[in-house]
Amino acid sequence: MYQYFYDLTGNTIIATLIVAVFPLVNVLLVALIGVYLERKVSAWIQDRIGPNRTGPLGLFQTVADFLKMLQKEDATSTEIDSKLYNIAPVLVFTGSFAAYAAIPFSSKLIGSEADVGIFYVLAISSLVVGGILMAGWASNNKYSMLGAMRSAAQIISYEIPTAIIVLSIVMFTGTLSLDKISDMQTASFWNWNIFGGAELGLTKFLMIPFMFIGFLIIFISTLAEVNRTPFDIPEAESELVAGYFTEYCGMKWAMFMLSEYGNMFAVSAIVSILFFGGYHSPIGYLGNSIGVEWLIPFEQAFWFLAKGWFFILVQMWLRWTLPRLRVDQLMSLCWKYLIPYAFVNLIIIGIISLL
């Protein structure tokens, strides 16, 4: 991708910018459609209708909200630490957006084919914590600070089970590169990692239950990393009003929202790459069967987005079903349940891969 645009323009900066536009558009679309879907899904689950006034079926609701947000006055309290206060939303958004650099949308549409892709994603998404802490501290609001503290503790803790499961996949596939992991699961859904990978044999069948446990753990812990219910304690509305962004409004608030939805898609993408074949189609490509080569990347992008959206929908479904945990229970879930299970899972997967 980058190489193509570099050849086209002959300028590294322009090529980089062009490549960066695709994930940005994706993040914006995810936020726009995501907020709309969140409202619709919650409405359907609660036997309501949901937004239906702005445009057909209320489709322009989030667009209208976004326009409203742009026009809003940037009202701030007088007692804030304005430098940190202004940087925080940018930093949070940067953290979630930078993760897209290594995520392969299709075999052609990939920002960086770095060999340490998954490692980079895990590392860069920790940047969000810094932003959240800044936001909480700089707002000079007790609720914000409590929210930020909770959030920092939560995100840092839940990186451990995530990393362990990623480690077990890395052990299993032998690579850190996200597009290589995807490429290993090509051709059919039976080759997905959750079904024990592409190699047929006894190990494949032995692997299935443990891969499934691994999937559950990484799904739960990434859910916690993006602060979604039942792990939305940093912004628990009935306790902390709105958590670390209580004092924000207008576009700065929208940046937090954008990064939340960006993060949701990013972790869904990671889960689908690690366990569900990434951008590869579960049933083979139309482009292959009718012999149109250029169609394949588009199909891959479609499957990738479809898988990402599927997990986003599951996240929404969970959000509107479950109550939220308490801060200490969140920690005990992580340290007493997820991490031990993840460790045992890691060891078993290691042994099975050795077989």
């Binding site: 609660q46 007790k142 409590l146 009935s238 306790e239 109550p323 945990l325 229970q329």
Partner: protein
């Protein structure tokens, strides 16, 4: 060298999503740990008791609606019973039956809000909306009979404002049949959800002696395991004719008297209310509901205290009459106000998130706390 630390004071409310109206809690916290809770009341004070002194007896009834605005029928009921006792009025059978059915319907509606908002405070918004959907059925049944949805002014001294609507019996039966499965659904969706149990079981344990010492009543008291219900222990109206059980907290998920017990008592009470409604709705005798209403309400000199079991606990009216058309003094023993006192005791050493769960399980209505 030890670092000097101090406790943080966090003002929760009066504009806070889960203080159920305009209660202000002053929390003294140490990190997330709460050391002290001080409730500050009075943001909704409307001088009900002073107002009542300037009103004629029948004009006080609309004011009682506004005490516990989620259980207005119960408030009317208590006040009407108190004045009837003062004047020695015997109301017709039909009135008694309708009053009981209405009060039980209202109890279900009130508990639905209590349970729903308790769940919503903990983060489960969906059951909250399901319960409001079910409450809507009750409200429309009552609306059809008396024309109002919330502040009914329905139970008058000596009778009722309207006779029941011709569709009332049919619709009530329909509701009973509709509502039974939704209790099961609620149990599956929320009550036995592991996260909900974790959030409420063993939290805010109210020991029996503390509950009694603080004068708690209603589900707050019964959650601690005491079988005390005025409908059975001090039967008023015709409650002694019906067969129903009094659910108490048994510590099913944790310790007796925790938040989950108080929550569960409410659900089981709804089931018992359905039982009472089922028994009563078929036996409503014929008659005139307004025949016993006195032309001129002028009770003799004297005092009276009458208590009823409102959804939130013992609601008592103490009335002093000086023989004129206006009451000399009306004092309300509001269950929410008394139950709220327990909060300080329950919240010590819990986390901020638990305060919300405990407050939700005590189920206060600020209209009644501040009066």
């Amino acid at each position: 060298m030890a670092l000097k630390t101090e406790h943080m004071v966090l003002n929760m409310g009066p504009q806070h999503p889960s203080t159920h109206g305009v209660l202000r809690l002053e929390l003294e916290i140490e990190g997330e740990l709460v050391n002290k809770v001080t409730p500050h009341l009075g943001y909704l004070h409307r001088c009900f008791e002073k107002h009542a002194e300037a009103m004629q007896y029948n004009q006080v009834v609309p004011y009682t609606d506004r005490l516990d605005y989620l259980a207005s029928i119960g408030n009317n009921f208590g006040y009407a019973l108190a004045v009837e006792k003062l004047m020695g009025i015997q109301v017709p059978e039909r009135v008694e039956y309708i009053r009981v059915i209405m009060a039980e319907l209202q109890r279900i509606a009130s508990h639905l809000v209590a349970i729903g908002s308790n769940g919503a405070d903990i983060g489960a918004l969906t059951p909250f909306l399901y319960l409001f959907r079910d409450r809507e059925h009750i409200l429309s049944i009552i609306e059809e009979t008396c024309g109002a949805r919330m502040l009914y002014n329905y139970i008058w001294i000596g009778g009722l404002s309207h006779d029941i609507h011709p569709d009332f019996v049919r619709k009530t039966k329909e509701f009973v049949n509709y509502f039974k499965p939704t209790i099961v659904e609620l149990d599956n969706l929320l009550s036995f959800n592991k996260i909900f149990i974790e959030r409420t079981a063993n939290i805010g344990i109210l020991p029996v002696d503390t509950a009694i010492n603080f004068g708690a009543s209603g589900p707050t008291l019964r959650g601690s395991g005491i079988k005390f219900d005025l409908r059975r222990d001090d039967p008023y109206s015709i409650y002694d004719r019906f067969d129903f059980e009094i659910p108490v907290g048994k510590g099913l998920m944790g310790t007796v008297g925790d938040c989950w017990d108080r929550y569960n008592v409410r659900i089981r009470e709804m089931e018992q209310s359905l039982r009472i409604i089922e028994q009563a709705v078929d036996n409503i005798p014929e008659g005139d509901v307004q025949s016993a209403i006195p032309k001129r309400i002028k009770p003799p000199k004297g005092t009276v205290y009458k208590r009823v079991e409102n959804p939130r606990g013992e609601l008592g009216y103490f009335i002093i009459s000086d023989g004129t058309v206006n009451p000399f003094r009306v004092k309300v023993r509001a269950p929410s106000f008394v139950n709220l006192e327990v909060l300080g005791e329950l919240c010590k050493g819990n986390l901020v998130a638990d305060i919300i769960a405990i407050l939700g399980s005590i189920d206060i209505v600020l209209g009644e706390v501040d009066r």
